[in-house]
């Protein structure tokens, strides 16, 4: 079984760009199996926080521990091993434009240098199938794929090495509602099947409410709230009120409640 230590633990994190303070003494935890969403206004440092957890940027102060290891202090070999245990879906996919969709997914496996090519081929095609990309499209270049397909191929690439931890940066930005919904279902399905822990940055209220087991709200340089949607909505803070209780927020929350009532009617009970 997994031990109970958190997958990600951020302690006293401070970020400064020159005089501009982005995060001030921020702390948070992500436990195994959760889907945690980071929300916050533009420029509140959501993506910066994600990049710091990934080790792409160094915080000015504080520690970031992933799987119990301080990511800014581990040696290179441990960090490499660590990087095989997580996957990241970048906002615009960040597919290698010189490689076909198939090669993009196969690349992380090839990089291990030990897996036989036929196994890589089968595994990559299976991953592409999991995200609903037909083999006929696998040999296309990223430039020839639509936005939704790029995202799905990028998700397949992020999942190539069977990570335990998956980072998503705006997973549904730029997708039409139907595509967003199928993408959300896809992530929920993969989360269930692959025992993933997911950390996601999103602006999309529907995605947020559909997926998150917890929501972390970044405002005023710190986490002003962190908990389930119901708990977060009850927190008195101007940003939360504007975000969740504005026109759009109310609609999304209403939709969520209706959905839950319907599920209750079908006999799905939660604790209360």
């Amino acid at each position: 079984m997994k031990d109970m230590q958190p997958v990600i633990r951020i302690d006293g994190l401070t970020t400064r760009f020159g005089d501009f303070v982005v995060h001030d003494n921020l702390s948070m935890e992500v436990r195994a199996g959760e889907i945690v969403s980071l929300v916050g206004g533009s420029g509140s440092g959501k993506t910066t926080l994600l990049r710091q957890v990934l080790g792409l940027e160094k915080p000015s102060a504080g520690t970031v521990r992933v799987f119990g290891m301080d990511i800014n202090r581990v040696d290179a070999a441990t960090l490499r091993h660590l990087r095989h245990r997580w996957g990241m879906l970048f906002q615009h996919g960040a597919l290698f434009s010189a490689l076909t969709a198939f090669d993009n997914v196969a690349q992380p496996m090839r990089e291990l240098r030990t897996l036989p090519e036929d196994l890589i081929r089968d595994a990559a095609l299976l991953k592409l199938r999991m995200v609903d990309i037909a083999p006929a499209h696998a040999m296309r270049m990223p430039a020839d794929l639509s936005g939704g397909m790029v995202k799905r191929v990028a998700l397949a690439r992020a999942l190539a090495l069977e990570p335990e931890l998956l980072f998503l940066d705006e997973p549904t930005a730029g997708l039409d509602p139907a595509l967003s919904e199928s993408f959300v279902d896809l992530i929920a399905m993969l989360h269930r099947e692959m025992n993933l822990t997911v950390v996601m940055v999103t602006h999309d209220l529907d995605t947020l409410l559909a997926l998150s087991s917890r929501i972390a709200v970044l405002a005023d340089k710190r986490l002003v709230a962190c908990g389930t949607a119901e708990e977060v909505v009850r927190v008195k803070h101007p940003f939360i009120e504007e975000y969740f209780l504005g026109q759009r927020g109310r609609r999304a929350l209403q939709g969520m409640r209706e959905l839950r009532d319907r599920n209750k009617g079908k006999g799905v009970h939660d604790g209360k």
Binding site: H81, F96, A98, T114
Partner: protein, 381 residues
């Protein structure tokens, strides 16, 4: 946990025959990609697989596997010949992986159609590409002529800011590198010629050799090659990135034509700036030659400067300036041509920039040869 910094190693994936019942294969350990990727793990598994008796009645017991993922499952699945063996014991939770593999069926990549370079298809493709480049260049030239006409009719509404920005970037900022290279080439040329001339007592002809070769040939050519490498690549990459970031499309939508706002300013700027750079490079190369002549032959700079007008007829200066303007326009046109053809991906950006510089330098040398033929009898005594 004793040392939190050291990640726990998953156990090796192991495949073994049950010692009691020889028809049962037991898989144990972690069948996960990280465990399989460890050195020798795959080879050991494959060795065991090869030694298995070829019986269809083999029983597979997977319940000893501590952790399974899709890649480990795929490995076993392939060993079974992509089908479920008749006797299979699974631990709870493993079923899902194999169900997925079964559902996926045989996935195979479509064959990429490849032709050798000499086949009709490849030759046709190459011809089409070449034709596309030629047509593109002709189109660009035509558009440039129209834009120049529009500019001439209403010079006040022309893109003066863009022109001056390009003059600054391509001209002023290149002064240092052209001076350095010009000076050094002057020194080299002077040393080389002085030695040869000295052997048969023709020291005074050093001025003629340096003056003619630098002003008529080397100055324009050096400046053009440097600018093609320095600014040609930059212009191509700039246009290419504008394609990637959709700035080019944004310009069209806002009614800012590419030709008038992007291409014509660059061509004009280079046509203006190149002759100036040629003069500058000429001067630096001659200074280098003078310095070397002083050191090698003891010729004073004063003598050098006095002898220069007699050694080099004035027509050569005009030819040098003309070459500068033509080379500059060619470099700008080629850079823009390749820049506009870049597709929105990194591969194409690299290819386009390389092609732009190589083509620009080749075309400059080609044009130089044309100059040599056309002005065959001009500028000599």
């Amino acid at each position: 946990m004793s040392n939190p910094q050291a990640p726990a190693q998953p156990p090796h994936p192991v495949l073994s025959l049950d010692p009691r019942r020889q028809s049962t294969v037991i898989a144990s350990g972690a069948w996960q990609v990280q465990a399989l990727a460890r050195p020798r793990a795959i080879r050991q598994v494959r060795d065991t697989l090869r030694r298995l008796p070829q019986a269809a009645t083999l029983q597979w017991d997977l319940s000893g596997i501590t952790a399974l993922d899709h890649i480990g499952a795929q490995m076993l699945w392939n060993a079974w010949g992509r089908q479920r063996p008749p006797h299979l014991a699974l631990a709870p939770g493993q079923e899902e992986f194999f169900r997925r593999l079964e559902q996926a069926g045989a996935l195979s990549l479509p064959k990429a159609d490849s032709h050798p370079w000499f086949s009709i298809v490849s030759l046709l493709r190459m011809a089409r590409l070449l034709g596309g480049h030629l047509l593109g260049l002709i189109g660009l030239l035509g558009q440039l002529a129209l834009d120049l006409g529009r500019f001439a009719r209403r010079p006040l509404r022309g893109p003066w800011k863009e022109i001056s920005a390009n003059v600054y970037r391509i001209g002023y900022q290149a002064l240092g590198i052209t001076a350095l290279v010009g000076f050094l080439i002057g020194v080299v040329l002077s040393y080389l010629s002085a030695q040869q001339l000295h052997t048969f007592g023709g020291d005074i002809y050093l001025v003629n050799i340096l003056g003619m070769s630098i002003i008529r040939e080397l100055g324009p050519l050096l400046a053009a090659i440097l600018i093609a490498g320095r600014s040609g690549s930059a212009l191509t990459a700039q246009l290419g990135v504008m394609r990637v970031t959709e700035e080019l499309d944004a310009m069209l939508v806002m009614g800012l034509p590419h030709g008038f706002r992007l291409i014509m300013p660059k061509v004009l700027a280079l046509a203006v700036v190149m002759p100036l750079l040629v003069v500058w490079t000429d001067a630096m190369a001659l200074v280098g030659g003078m310095v070397a002549a002083k050191a090698q032959l003891g010729q004073s700079p004063g003598y050098f400067l006095r002898a220069l007008p007699d050694a080099v007829p004035i027509a050569n200066y005009w030819i040098g300036l003309g070459k500068g303007a033509v080379f500059g326009s060619l470099i700008a046109l080629i850079a823009c041509h390749f820049g506009l053809r870049i597709q929105p991906n990194t591969e194409s950006l690299g290819q386009g920039t390389t092609a732009s510089v190589v083509t620009a330098i080749t075309v400059v040398i080609l044009a130089d040869a044309v100059f040599a033929i056309v002005f065959n009898g001009v500028g000599y005594y």
